[in-house]
């Protein structure tokens, strides 16, 4: 119903490529305050399809320990939305992959939703994922502003989301639907179980109008590959944060990580 955002880098990407899309998450300001562009360049050079930049928050309730700690470290390093937008100011001269910002609603509210959308547009951010901003509140209070600046709002579904609600979310989403793989916070390493496959199957059979990416618990080639059998691609977060922590942010390090996920 809303799909009035005609085109941006995210919709263009899905129009060109329908499967095995890899979306990688990292936390802005981790491991070091000024790593944002280094990591973006590394991910682009390694051939990822989308990038999700985490806006660090003091109380990330949907995140497991790895991302909690990267958020804490980033805040200690002095990361803020203002700093992040400054770092991204000229990134579009060299970065062409779609960029999403992911985080919690409170820092965005304090920054000002309109100001936030304006900055996203100015630096070339294409979409936003705010897990604790529920769809009905988004539609009632913020959808118009997001639309005015051409910023996509990506919504989550989970194994517990009812079919009726999934249809509603699908109708109100542009870009893609973020399928949370299981009832869990981020960072699980338990692999993909039979009930998860059944849920992936159920959603695939619903023939939604939006493409789907599966995230949470995608941490190696096997889980990536499995997710790609059921959706248009997958999102890797905690595993990449752990890799950055252990192996650093060099282009080789990032290429090696992406390599292990892809093949």
């Amino acid at each position: 119903m809303t799909s009035s955002i005609t085109r941006n880098r995210i919709t263009d990407l899905f129009a060109q490529k329908g499967d095995r899309l890899l979306n990688v998450y990292f936390t802005a300001g981790f491991p070091n305050l000024d790593d944002t562009l280094t990591i973006l360049r590394g991910l682009q050079a390694a051939g990822v399809d989308l990038v999700e930049i985490g806006m660090p928050y003091s109380d990330p309730v949907a995140d497991g320990e790895t991302i909690q700690q990267s958020n804490g470290k980033a805040l200690e390093n002095g990361m803020s939305l203002r700093t992040l937008f400054a770092q991204l100011a000229s990134c579009r001269q060299e970065i062409s992959v779609p960029i999403l910002l992911m985080g919690y609603i409170n820092p965005v509210l304090q920054f000002g939703v309109e100001n936030f959308c304006q900055q996203c547009r100015a630096v070339g951010v294409d979409g936003v994922i705010l897990p604790d901003l529920p769809l009905d509140l988004f539609l009632a209070e913020y959808a118009e502003t997001f639309r005015a600046y051409g910023i996509l709002n990506v919504n989550l579904i989970t194994p517990q989301t009812s079919d009726e609600r999934i249809r509603h979310i699908d109708a109100e989403s542009d870009g893609f639907i973020y399928m949370v793989s299981s009832a869990s916070i981020t960072g699980s390493t338990k692999g993909i179980s039979e009930p998860m496959r059944a849920y992936f199957d159920r959603i695939r059979a619903m023939q939604l109008r939006n493409p789907r990416l599966i995230g949470f618990g995608i941490n190696d080639h096997e889980t990536f590959d499995t997710a790609c059998q059921y959706a248009n691609g997958a999102i890797v977060g905690s595993a990449f944060i752990r890799h950055l922590q252990d192996h650093g942010t060099s282009p080789e390090s990032i290429r090696a990580f992406v390599g292990t996920i892809r093949s």
Binding site: V61, P134, L156, I157, Q160, A183, S184, I185
Partner: protein, 399 residues
Amino acid sequence: MQSTLEPQTSFAVTDKGFYGRFGGAFIPEMLYPNVEELRQSYLQIMADPAFQAEFQQLLEDYVGRPTPLFLARRLSEQVGATVYLKREDLCHTGAHKINNTIGQILVAQRLGKKRIVAETGAGQHGVATATVCALMGLECIVYMGSIDMERQKPNVDRMRMLGAEVRPATSGSQTLKDATNEAMRHWINNPVDTHYIIGSVVGPHPYPDMVARFQSVISEEIRKQLFAKTGRENPDYVVACVGGGSNAAGAFYHFLNEPAVRLVATEAAGLGVSSGHSAATTALGKPGVLHGSRTILMQTEDGQVTEPYSISAGLDYPGIGPLHAHLFDTGRGDFYAITDDDAMQAGFNLSKLEGIIPAIETAHALAALPKMGLTPTDVVVVCLSGRGDKDLSTYSKYL
């Protein structure tokens, strides 16, 4: 006692869960089905006569209600007004918290839940939750900040003796906020069989309203008891401490639409409002979103939640319930910030004057009395939310 469940009019929650501009349900999709299930069923469950009968019976026979309304003569003389103490400290387990946990465990049973998760600060809500889980034979997991586990050790031991598993929250300030984060994460990971018993009037809608309704028995009794003693139902002031605000919500509930009754909420100023070590939310906070609701919140300019501080573990929280944010916003409530020192003195004072050792949380309410400009004809009810046994080591270290 049917009126416990009747919604108030002008300070009642809207169907979307708002009190003025505060409230709502800012939750990740992972929690949506649970919270929605609760939202759709809590009023129906609570209105069921069988539920009411069981709830009332347990409040009487297990909790020990009604709790007395005690005329504190020596304290009255000291502050120069007539002061009544609503003795929630005499509830089973030693605080008002059990009014809510009894109600919520009955809701959880009716929703078919097998396991309970809760957060706790002072440990009173944890003990009250562990108690009702033992009573009903449900598994119980309580998250508690590691710092709070140290300063409220007797309550950790009590929870374990009652069969609960106490898990330390080691992130952030390692106090109530972080315990709440961990409890929410646990609920995300276990959405189907687990009910989250929130311990105050905080969290996503319908929690603030549900908890306020369960605690509203406090003001329902105050009205009847005050009438029986004085021939008037309305005091001039009702005073309560606010951590998240559940004892205050319960004590205020039936007076919300009685403008002649001033509602006095006391927050923990810690070492002083501007000391950088405080939990005085309305003095220091701005509107923001925490733990599922839009409320007043202590935060940095960038919207990061500030670590609060109070000597009292139960008030050491950077937000307040959305109802209280609305009372503050509309001027319906008077908010006082009480320092550690003033609270501790008030705790010692009540012990010596009336033979009642209050919880340090509660002492923050008592400390407001000399600051309120009371006159001899004023009738004041203080919600004596809990007893001080758990705080003896903090009291004696302070001496």
